[in-house]
């Protein structure tokens, strides 16, 4: 067995939490954005036409592309701002999880149809 593979490396200084916080919060925002854009596309005919980027796939193509763009832009911006800093991780984690759960629930058609 390769001893290099199983050795325990000496402790390293803890990395700032900002990198992870940016990735986490942007994923929450991206998930929430996906739900909001999907609902808007379902309920607003003009927006639905706008979201049809690839006709065979229909509005789903624009909805998912727009949400991915929001997610990646937010990630880049937060990354640039937080990458070398420590942030209040419990607060960021809670916000990201709430956004994820709300986004998840908003995608459930009976809930989406309430709006």
């Amino acid at each position: 067995m390769d001893s290099r593979d199983t050795r325990h490396s000496p402790p390293r200084p803890s990395l700032p939490s900002g990198y992870g916080a940016a990735a986490l919060l942007s994923a929450g925002i991206g998930s929430f954005a996906l739900a909001v854009i999907a609902n808007a596309s379902d309920h607003i005919a003009g927006f639905r036409r706008l979201m049809t980027l690839y006709r065979p796939t229909g509005p789903l193509s624009g909805v998912t592309t727009a949400a991915l763009v929001v997610w990646l832009i937010v990630w880049c911006l937060l990354h640039l701002r937080w990458r070398n800093r420590d942030v209040r991780m419990p607060m960021v984690s809670a916000a990201a999880i709430v956004l994820l759960i709300v986004g998840f629930l908003l995608m459930f058609p009976p809930i989406a149809d309430l709006f």
């Binding site: 593979d5 939490s17 990198y19 986490l24 996906l34 796939t57 193509s61 960021v92 990201a96 459930f108």
Partner: protein, 188 residues
Amino acid sequence: MDISSHALWSLIHGMGFGGLYLLACSGAIVELWRRFAPSSPTAVTSRDERFVRIYFAVMAALAWLAVLTGAYIVYPWYRAIPPAGAMSLGAFPQRLLLSNPSTAAWHSLGMEWKEHVAWLAPISTTMACAVLMRYGRGLKDHPSLRNAVLCFVVVAMVAAGIAGFFGAEIDDHAPVEGGKIVRMAHGG
């Protein structure tokens, strides 16, 4: 033993990429839960760290392949519109489901939910992968971040499970068929 190319792509999308992703989720949750717990008595070795990074990178790739093949290869066949006067809806799964009140909900609830919720999987898994690439074993020093990543992976697994369940049921009620016939084996 023949299969249509549309059915084969449906299989690759669902049973291949989607099924493998779902299987991988349980392993990812166990790894994050046990190995990266701040109270874990065993240290994460460099070998473990490398393994988990590769594992999450493969998971993220599977999640992206599942949603992209679903949205851009299989879904267009599912939502194809029959020509006027079509005598059979067999090749138009969405219209076939909607034509019968007893199957319409597989589209109006199942597909409408699945087509969006499935995208939580690649977003969440890519985030988890990025965090593990950056922090590696250092994730143990950030319990709040590790807990949130774990939560995202659990939600991603639930989302993929919903997509998988409805995908299988929809395919059972109105399979995506058509395209070239692929001969997989000759009979005896």
